[in-house]
Amino acid sequence: MDLLREIASSLETGDDERAAERTRAALAAGVAPRVVLDEGLVRGMEAVGARFKAHEIFLPDVLLAAKAMIAGVEILKPLLEGEGMPSRGKVVIGTVKGDLHDIGKNLVGVLLRGAGFDVVDLGRDVPPERFVEAAEREGARVIGMSALLTTTMPAMARVVGLVRERGLGGSVRTIVGGAPVSADFAREIGADDYGYDAANAVERVAALVAR
């Protein structure tokens, strides 16, 4: 219907006020919250993601779409609590010990939230134990680690090792990223996956939780 299309298009134009307003209008018109979420907000975000992947739009467009998505989700949240929050899962993210570079990690956080994940952002210079403790405490499905320096990359291996030591390997997946990190490195340290940029990290996390 038109209202759902308008919600989706408000994401494509990055208009968070309109996304919220159209979400309220759809609810007032009697559309079920789950339908507003799935056929309005999620569909809009998928369209934005596809255009970004096809090099048609820029990162700011994706970030603004994510912001608009969150504006809509905030309205739907209380209505959907009974049937379980519209979360695709919880993800713990952080920049590893010794590394103060958090731009890439922040970007991943915004995009993950926009894609419907619950994000626990531990910040930067995060010791390995904190990643694992947070994942256990929060019931997270994925730990995402970022590093910009080759000297801090080994900390990623320690997190992966801790996840194994504590027997969480079955329930908590690990993913790594950052400029010096590669798919080969991820394999070497036994991480479950690697994202080559922020948008790709979201795709990979989605695939990890779907496994």
């Binding site: 820029f58 700011p60 970030l63 912001k67 731009i103 970007l107 400029a179 940029d197 790709n200």
Partner: protein, 486 residues
């Protein structure tokens, strides 16, 4: 400010012009066309009919330069303005009249046919930095006598952009003009909103053939714009020095202005050319040579010193493949042309000394043109002062990715190439297939051809064009055309 390339001191421009005028007065120009010789004689030029030579006095040249428009506009098939050929405004158009194509599907350099002309027009239609179409390919599957008009017919029916073209014979001009008139509705509408530019080429040294001089006169009388394509070859058919070549180019080009303006004062003419530094090892005319490109930019300065709109064949490559040489020669030419402010730049897509068009190269060149156009726009402040508030926002938010300032200026401030130019990180590049430049360009070509839609020409206009083209084919002894608009 707009960055501007200058190669000649003002004094040198003046001296070259003075020497060229002296050459036209004392040496003269050969015109192998009695009607044009008579026209020149009627207006006071001294003419030696035995040697077909006309000697042009300074006042004839001054009058021609004075009556020539200092700029003019082009319009697409719908009549919408696409070009303002004046000042330092830069427009790109594919290099013209290739006798071969580099087939992107087979890698073979071969003779072109109708399908190549159609695909070329379809790809040009999709490329925003290529402002005009060109009858860039000479089809080999029609009678020679219609290979000029037929490629114009194909371009107009497959691409809405105005066309840089040219007639190969005196007879062809009429049907080419009629095709243009058919699109516009009348000759006066065509004069008001020009749809094509015809190349008219003197022959170096200092000579006009019957065909090209007649084309120049016929175009001028029909108010169809022309570009004068003087082609001195340094060290062979022109002095080896760049200044000497410029004197010859200036003389040949000014002689074209005199002919066009005597035929019809006020006729729109581009001060153009396709000179080259002749390579005395390979006996070739390298368009990618730095000296060729310097001559181009320098004669453009001479044209601009007279206030005239300019054109050049620059931004081409002599490579036989879409390789590093193709990229570097085309980039250098397009960049210099943009910095100089040449109004109509003919080059994209062209390889092998102006003889081979490649759709893949056209797609890559299009991205080069985007860079060059961006460079020409220069650096200007945009909501940048006072600077402190934006930096406060940056520190507060941690980034400026979604800042209003970013969103307002991103698209105008940055020319984003792709997908031919690769900017993915190594992992993404691998994941997306580890494609080479040629492979990425091929995908673009196929995408544009698939997405093509025909220009909005009324059915009766298309029928009239086909009627004209079929009559012309019969005149040339061809029963049927390889392609006709259905």
């Amino acid at each position: 400010m707009r960055p501007l390339l200058r190669l000649l001191e003002d004094d040198l421009v003046g001296r070259i012009l003075a020497e060229a005028r002296d050459v036209l007065l004392r040496v003269g120009v050969e015109v192998h066309n009695p009607r044009v010789l008579a026209l020149l004689a009627d207006h006071g030029a001294k003419v030696d009919r035995a040697s077909s030579r006309a000697f042009l006095r300074g006042d004839l040249i001054d009058r021609a330069v004075a009556s020539a428009p200092k700029g003019f506009r082009l319009h697409d098939v719908e009549g919408r303005e696409t070009h303002d050929l004046s000042g330092r405004k830069v427009h790109f158009t594919p290099g013209s009249a290739a006798i071969r194509v580099l087939d992107g599907r087979t890698g073979e350099s071969r003779k072109p046919a109708t399908a190549d002309c159609i695909e070329h027009a379809k790809v040009v239609a999709a490329l925003p930095h290529i402002h005009a179409a060109a009858t860039a390919i000479v089809p080999s599957d029609v009678a020679e006598g219609i290979s000029d008009s037929y490629r114009l017919y194909l371009s107009l029916l497959h691409c809405r952009k105005p066309v840089v073209t040219g007639a190969f014979s005196i007879e062809s001009f009429a049907v080419m003009r009629d095709l243009l008139v058919a699109v516009r509705g009348s000759g006066s509408a065509l004069a008001e909103r020009p749809l094509a530019v015809f190349s008219c080429c003197p022959t170096s040294p200092l000579r006009w053939s019957e065909v090209t001089s007649q084309n120049l006169v016929d175009c001028a009388r029909a108010s169809i714009p022309t570009e004068l394509i003087s082609m001195p070859l340094s060290g062979f058919m022109a002095p080896v020095t760049l200044v000497g070549t410029l004197v010859q180019h200036t003389a040949e080009t000014l002689s074209g202005y005199v002919i066009a303006q005597l035929a019809s004062p006020g006729a729109p003419v581009l001060y153009g050319g396709s000179p080259a530094a002749f390579d005395l090892r390979f006996e070739t005319t390298p368009m990618g040579a730095v000296e060729t490109q310097m001559i181009d930019c320098a004669y453009h300065e001479i044209g601009k010193s007279l206030g005239l709109p300019t054109q050049a064949y620059i931004g081409l490559s002599d490579s036989k493949r879409l390789d590093a040489q193709a990229g570097l020669e085309s980039s250098m030419g397009a960049t210099l042309a943009a910095l100089a402010g040449i109004n109509s730049v003919s080059g994209p897509g062209m390889l092998d000394f102006e003889s081979c068009q490649s759709l893949e190269k056209l797609v890559v060149d299009h991205e080069i043109c985007g860079f060059a156009l961006r460079l020409a726009r220069g650096i200007e402040p945009r909501d940048d002062f006072p600077a402190a508030p934006l930096f406060e926002e940056l520190l507060r938010e941690g980034h400026l990715l979604v800042a209003k300032h970013t969103r307002r200026h991103l698209r105008a401030e940055h020319c984003v190439p792709g997908p031919a130019i690769d900017r993915a990180n190594l992992s993404r590049w691998r994941e997306e297939g580890a494609l080479s430049l040629g492979e990425r360009a091929s995908r673009e070509v196929e995408k544009h051809i698939r997405a093509w839609t025909p220009p909005p020409l009324a059915a009766e206009v298309r029928r009239e064009m086909t009627r004209l083209m079929e009559a012309e084919a019969r005149r040339a002894g061809m029963g049927r055309l390889p392609w006709r608009d259905e």
